[in-house]
Symmetry: C2
């Protein structure tokens, strides 16, 4: 038996990097085993033409010490899916860490797991956190007891390195960082709305206005 | 017909984030189409328990404007595979951009595509670049004519944003950066051997000593 059992929950139209970033990091955690869990074993289509193959179903997944839920536009449908939400709620009970990346936070929320917690999510959706009983904390990764939430998409890499440091020590986390050459050098400074130019914010605004509407509808239905 | 046809070549035991990072960015390039190409349509096992589903085979892949080859330990076998190397060589002829992330550079090299070029790869393998006729340039992303190479794993995100800026303009690249909240905040500064502590470098050394040996054997056989 590995010391740490980790499971990612995937669903149609997830943002694949929400999941694949932390998977790359956490799969190198010593003495751990990683599951990729979905409703069935069929490949799950992501948001960018790539389908991902689950290793377990909700039925045959072993107990998880750490559950991680990624985000994406598919969250609106996943939040409405009783099997998905029920699996997350059930697994979270015995887990040491209940986590999300990006708008995966709202699947935790739909399962009632963010009630009374500080949390974060993709910057475009933070205003919806009160709908699931959470208080937004403006940080890239928020730890609140057993609940750990990360911001949008690429924040999952920073999130996973922090988890490795907590579980296996700083040098192991640093060695994984070195292995994945995580020495970021973005060509621009537009990764957060506080710093992106106004015309860039305008370019993405319609995408997320629609997304928020879909999430609101899912959370109120 | 999309203006830009992009293809990623995948093979068993690739480092999935080498591929999934730039895929997330490039799939948002306007007026483009992305292919995920492998020998067959069977799911391709990556280095971390996740299998990835190709959208095309070497046989039925349309001409590519941009070909991108990721890396990983599976490169040693892929370099020896005449079909994989032959596909990359054939597609590169008509492509506007011939690119790699991480040790995918050695598949380009095995296809003869780095001869006389400045290039980079994962930091642990840069000393092998002369074996494929390339000169190492110490940068995270190296442009040399139509050949663009990126460093290890996560450098693929920086690489892809630079490509979007070139093809669609800076504001589009910035809008994708904002969408994926790429505002990196690594908890440590150990992403490059120049800055990682000695004990951390020692932790990963055996992994890459073996890797270099496998690559040397593949390149000399």
């Amino acid at each position: 038996m590995p010391a740490i059992s980790i499971g990612f929950v995937i669903f149609p139209n997830l943002t694949q990097l929400d999941f694949t970033g932390p998977l790359q990091v956490l799969s190198r955690l010593p003495d751990s085993e990683t599951q990729i869990v979905a409703k069935t074993r069929d490949p799950v289509p992501s948001d960018c033409g790539l389908s991902l193959v689950p290793t377990r179903t909700f039925e045959d997944c072993p107990p998880l010490d750490l559950i991680c839920v990624p985000g994406g536009f598919g969250v609106a449908a996943a939040m409405r899916d009783a099997e998905t939400v029920g699996f997350v709620r059930r697994m979270a009970e015995g887990a040491r860490y209940v986590t999300s990346v990006c708008t995966g936070a709202f699947i935790l929320g739909a399962a009632g797991l963010l009630q009374g917690h500080r949390a974060t999510t993709h910057w475009a959706y933070t205003e919806l956190l009160p709908l699931v009983g959470a208080t937004h904390e403006p940080a890239r990764v928020v730890w609140d007891g057993k609940v750990i939430t990360a911001g949008g998409v690429t924040s999952g890499i920073d999130f996973a390195l922090r988890i490795v440091a907590r579980l296996a020590g700083e040098n192991v986390a640093r060695s994984i960082q070195l292995g994945i050459e995580y020495d970021p050098d973005p060509p621009f400074d537009s990764g957060h709305p506080d710093r992106a130019p106004e015309e860039v914010r305008q370019l993405v605004a319609p995408r997320y206005a629609q997304g928020r509407e879909d999430y609101r509808a899912a959370l109120s239905g």
